[in-house]
Symmetry: C2
Subunit: 374 residues, 2 copies
C-alpha cells in the first residue's frame, strides 16, 4: 500500500522519481526482514581509493566499490537506523513540498529513542555524512532530497529566469544582484529567455561589484556571477545548467594563487569530497581566463600588485601540479610560473593600473586574444 | 581653482557635500603650510574611553575628545601622508562616480615613494584605520567616500525599490532574494512603493529560506531580510532607511545565545568599534522578537532543541549584562535566563516541533501577544 501512496505529494516527475528511490530502499529492507534475513544497504564507498579522474569525461568520479551496511551488526546498526531515519524525513519533505537545510535536518531527525537515553544523532557531524550516504546509496542529489546547504553567490545579466513562479529579469537587478538559490533544479528554476553570449564567473564579490558598476555584462552580453569564494553547490549547479542548457562558453576569473586555481578546478571537474555528484555539478568546458602568473609581464603590473608567496602557497602549488587533471604541459607551466614568480596576485590588484582597467582592458584583451587555459 | 573644480564630477548633492569636506581638509592644511606652520588634523579619538551610550537617543556615540595628527612629527608624519593619500583617492572616486572595496582602496593607494624603498602602505591593516580616521575626521560615512565593505544580506517582500535606475519588485524574487547592496545611500537606492506593515530581520539564512518558502512575507505583509550572521554595513543602513523612511516597526529574530543578543544589539544601538556611525546605522526602535530563553517552556520545546552552554557562552552572557544598554530589569532577566537554563537554542531548533512551526505558530503568536523586548 505504502508503495502506491508514496508519490502522492510529489508535484514533479523528479520528485516522483526520488520518492520511488526512497521507497525502493525501504521495501527491499522490509522484504529481507520479512524473509528473516539481515537487511543491508550497499553504498558506494566515499573513500579516496574509490575516486578517480575520468580522462574522457574530464570529471572526478566515484568508482563502483561498495560498502555494506548491515542492520544486525553492532558496528553498523546505528548508522543503518540513521540512514532510514533521514530517508523517512526526506520523504516527508518531498511529500510536503518543503526544503530544509542540512542543519535543520539534524534538528528534525534528532530525538531520544523511546525507553532509552540514546539520541538518534549527537550532533550535525553525525547527520551530514548520513545524508551523503543516502545521496550515493539511492543516487539522488541532496537537492533532490529537498535538502540544501547554505547558499552563496550572486548573478546579473541579460537572462530572464522563472524561479518558484516569479519571472525575474537579471538585467534589472540594480547593484544588488539576484541571490543564486541553494537549490537550482529544473522543478523550481527555469531559464525563460536570454541574450547572453557567454558566462563570466568571478571568485570575489568586490570584483563582481566593480564589473557590475561598470556594466560590463551589458556591454559584453554576459551572465556575470560571483561565487563569493569557493563555490557553493547552488552556484555550481546554476552554472552547469546555464552552460549546458543555454550552450554558453564559461570563463572563470580567480586570484592568481593555488587556491584560486583550485576554485576553478572544482567548477571544472568537481571535487574529491563530492565526487559522486560531479555529473550534476561539474562543467568540464569552463575556461580559466585568469589571473595567470604571466599576466604580470603581459599587463605591465608593478610590485604593488603582488603578495609574497608563503610556504603554504608553495606546498599547495606542488600539490596542484600532482593532480591528474593538471598534468598537461600548459597547466604545469602555469602552476610552475606562480612558484617561479615568488608572488601571488589578487584580481583586485588590477586596480593598481586604474580603477576600471579590469573592465575596459584586462578582460576584453583576454577574450579578444583567446588568452585562456582549458 | 581646485576648490571650484572639485565638485565637478559629483552628480548628487551628497557627493558635492563630501567633495567639499575633502576640499576643506586639504585647503586648511595647505593654508597652514603656506603660512609656514605645521599642518595638523584634528580627529575625534576612536578609543573606548571616548565612546559612551547616549541614554536619551539610545545609541552608542563617539565623544568629542580629539587626537591631533601633525605633519612635522616623526610619529605622525606617515599617517598624515596616508590620510591625504586616501582622501585624494576618494576624491577621484567621487568625481569618477565609481565605488571600490576597502581592499581595492589598499591596492589603489599602495605604491613605493619615488626615490625611496618606502611603501605608502605595507598592508590593508594599515589602510583600513586610515579610512576610519578620514570618516571621523571629515564626518563622512565610508559609503559617502565611495568605499564599501563586502556586502551580505538578502531581502524579499512587498516593496518596490529603484536601485541604480532599475525598478526592482522585491515581491517577485523567487527563492533567491535580492542581494542588499553594500552602499544603500539615497543617491543609488530609492524606495518606490510598498505594502509592508513591518520588517522582520532574521540572523540565519536557512531560517529566512524557510520563511520565504512558506511565503510568510506575503501572508503577513512584511519586508523579510536576513543579515546572514552579524550584519554588514549595507544591511544595517538598508534596515535603518526602511525603518525610518517607511515608518515601519522592525522585529529581529536571532538565536537564543549571547551572540544572537549581540547581533540584535548592534542593529539597535550600534557597536563600540563603529560608534561614530551609529547615527546613520543604528535603529533604536528595533524589537527583539526572539528567540527568548523563556520560549523553551512557552512553546513546549524538548531537550533536542537545546545545546549546552560553553564557558565562553556564560562569560559572554555576563559581559552582556554589564552593557549599559542592557541594564534594564527586563534585559537582565532575559540574559540571566540563558545562564539559568544552562543551554542555548538556535532558531532552527523550532523545526523539532514541525517544519513550518516557525512560520505558522511561533512568529504569529509572538506578534499577536506582543511578546517582544525593546
Amino acid at each position: 500500500m505504502a508503495a502506491k501512496k508514496s508519490t502522492a505529494g510529489a508535484k514533479s516527475d523528479k520528485d516522483k522519481k526520488t520518492l520511488t528511490k526512497i521507497e525502493r530502499l525501504a521495501s527491499a529492507a522490509l522484504k529481507t526482514v520479512n524473509g528473516g534475513g539481515n537487511p543491508a544497504l550497499e553504498i558506494r564507498a566515499r573513500t579516496l581509493s574509490n575516486v578517480s579522474f575520468n580522462e574522457k569525461k574530464r570529471i572526478i568520479e566515484l568508482g563502483d566499490k561498495t560498502q555494506s551496511r548491515e542492520f544486525f551488526n553492532i558496528a553498523m546498526a546505528r548508522k543503518f537506523m540513521q540512514t532510514f531515519l533521514i530517508a523517512s524525513k526526506c520523504k516527508e519533505l518531498i511529500q510536503g513540498q518543503k526544503t530544509i537545510s542540512i542543519r535543520q535536518m539534524y534538528y528534525v531527525s534528532k530525538h531520544t529513542l523511546p525507553g532509552s537515553t540514546e539520541n538518534t544523532f549527537e550532533d550535525q557531524n553525525e547527520s551530514d555524512p548520513i545524508i551523503e550516504d543516502l545521496e550515493v546509496g539511492i543516487d539522488a542529489l541532496r537537492e533532490e532530497l529537498h535538502l540544501f546547504a547554505n547558499k552563496r553567490g550572486l548573478v546579473v545579466g541579460p537572462l530572464v529566469v522563472n524561479d518558484a513562479g516569479d519571472e525575474i529579469d537579471l538585467a534589472r537587478m540594480g547593484r544588488g544582484g539576484w541571490g543564486i538559490p541553494s537549490i537550482c533544479e529544473e522543478d523550481n528554476l527555469k531559464f525563460v529567455r536570454h541574450k547572453a553570449e557567454f558566462v563570466l564567473s568571478v571568485e570575489k564579490q568586490a570584483v563582481w561589484h566593480r564589473l557590475v558598476e561598470d556594466r560590463f555584462w551589458d556591454k559584453y552580453k554576459c551572465i556575470l556571477m560571483t561565487t563569493e569564494g569557493q563555490s557553493a553547490r547552488g552556484a555550481r549547479r546554476f552554472l552547469q545548467r546555464v552552460a549546458t542548457e543555454l550552450k554558453l562558453p564559461v570563463y572563470v576569473l580567480v586570484d592568481n594563487d593555488p587556491w584560486g586555481l583550485y576554485i576553478y578546478s572544482v567548477l571544472k571537474q568537481g571535487s574529491i569530497n563530492l565526487a559522486y555528484e560531479s555529473m550534476r555539478m561539474a562543467v568540464p568546458h569552463v575556461r580559466f581566463l585568469g589571473m595567470s602568473a604571466f599576466d604580470y609581464k603581459k599587463f605591465d603590473l608593478k610590485p604593488n600588485a603582488t603578495i609574497k608567496l608563503t610556504k603554504e602557497d608553495i606546498a599547495r602549488a606542488e600539490q596542484m601540479k600532482a593532480y591528474p587533471w593538471f598534468k598537461e604541459k600548459k597547466w604545469q607551466r602555469e602552476i610552475q610560473a606562480i612558484v617561479d614568480n615568488g608572488f601571488k596576485m589578487e584580481v583586485d590588484a588590477l586596480l593598481t593600473k586604474n580603477i576600471s582597467f579590469i573592465t575596459e582592458q584586462y578582460i576584453p584583451k583576454k577574450l579578444r586574444d583567446k588568452d585562456f587555459l582549458q
